[in-house]
Symmetry: C2
Subunit: 180 residues, 2 copies
DNA sequence: GCCATTAGTATCGACTCGCTACTATATCAA
DNA sequence: TTGATATAGTAGCGAGTCGATACTAATGGC
């Protein structure tokens, strides 16, 4: 039987229309998506490999994209002490400002009834979970919903890495995330 | 206030993951999206301009993309008699086959409960309508839901163009569509 | 017949994309 | 300790999208 591509095509079309609006500030849509991920990810999850996994592209492409962001002043490289091979990118002030800019698609969605928004988000999340499971991908959830998260200490503690979290970091995305 | 980009980012991420799977058969994701549109649009709606409007890109880019599809044997050009400037593209057999191929994201969505799928589709459609209205874009609906559609005759009649429709065409997308 | 409009295209520079090949660091085992 | 192997990041290739601009050709109004 012919598969029903209807919803998939709707998602792609919305993303495409959003892309057309994503060229603001000298950025292109991919660079903007990477920037948005960096703003949501914790310090252990901001390497080229991680961003590539999250966005479904390759290390090579993402390496170039991140270097472009640095060149444009939206991000900065930061070599890790623990593993000299890996690099953690972080947003500059300009980068942090760019991700909060208004956006027509976000506005359109925001003006929908709350119940419709909730149903939409739930449907998208379930689709994403299934798609990632089929791909063998990671969940990329937030620390506070993670099985390794210990909320007892001051600003949270990661029992997997044996490290304390920075303030506010329990609300960030982590590559090691495992649903509690 | 900082806008909530959550749902927008989910949509983009799903589209991005889908894109990675969209390289099958020597096509790239954009070429596939154009092919999918051509398979759903009626004979008056398959020009470079129309596909560009539908997918939110420019005539120049879409012109190149459609020529690539012809070069690869998935589509064919067809000059209109009425207006010698415009071109209508149509799918070849290979093109028609390519749009029915299975797809991991479509499968994931298809395996969700019917109620979740319905809510998802409804939320996406409402978002799309608002986004298009904000952009001044067309609705691109199907003939059978159009104010100009007269279902009395054999296979439908377009009262705007004053033309009879081909069999099955009332289920196709039209640029001139106006919600009844 | 003139002129503004429209449809399609060619070309430019920047960039993504998958891919392959390479370097440097890290890890593990004999 | 010394390989052997895996991992992180990158450079470079060819194809092609993308916005932008500048063109040609056909159309339609006046």
């Amino acid at each position: 039987m012919k598969p029903d591509h209807g919803i998939r095509i709707l998602i792609n079309r919305l993303a495409r229309i959003d892309s057309a609006a994503g060229w603001a500030g000298g950025l292109n849509p991919t660079q903007r998506a990477a920037l948005e991920y960096l703003s949501e990810a914790n310090q252990f999850s901001r390497s080229p490999s991680h961003v590539a996994d999250y966005l479904g592209t390759t290390r090579g492409t993402m390496s170039q994209t991140l270097k472009a962001l640095v060149r444009k002043g939206y991000a900065a490289e930061h070599r890790q002490k623990s593993d000299q091979r890996s690099i953690s990118y972080e947003l500059t002030e300009a980068g942090a400002a760019a991700v909060t800019e208004p956006n027509p698609i976000a506005d359109a969605i925001g003006s929908l009834p709350a119940s419709v928004q909730a149903a939409l988000k739930e449907g998208l999340l379930q689709s994403l979970r299934l798609a990632l499971a089929a791909n063998g991908g990671q969940s990329f959830g937030k620390c506070k919903t993670c099985a390794y998260h210990d909320a007892a200490s001051e600003s949270g503690f990661c029992t997997l890495l044996g490290l304390g979290l920075e303030p506010g970091e329990s609300d960030k995305i982590c590559v090691e995330h495992k649903e509690a």
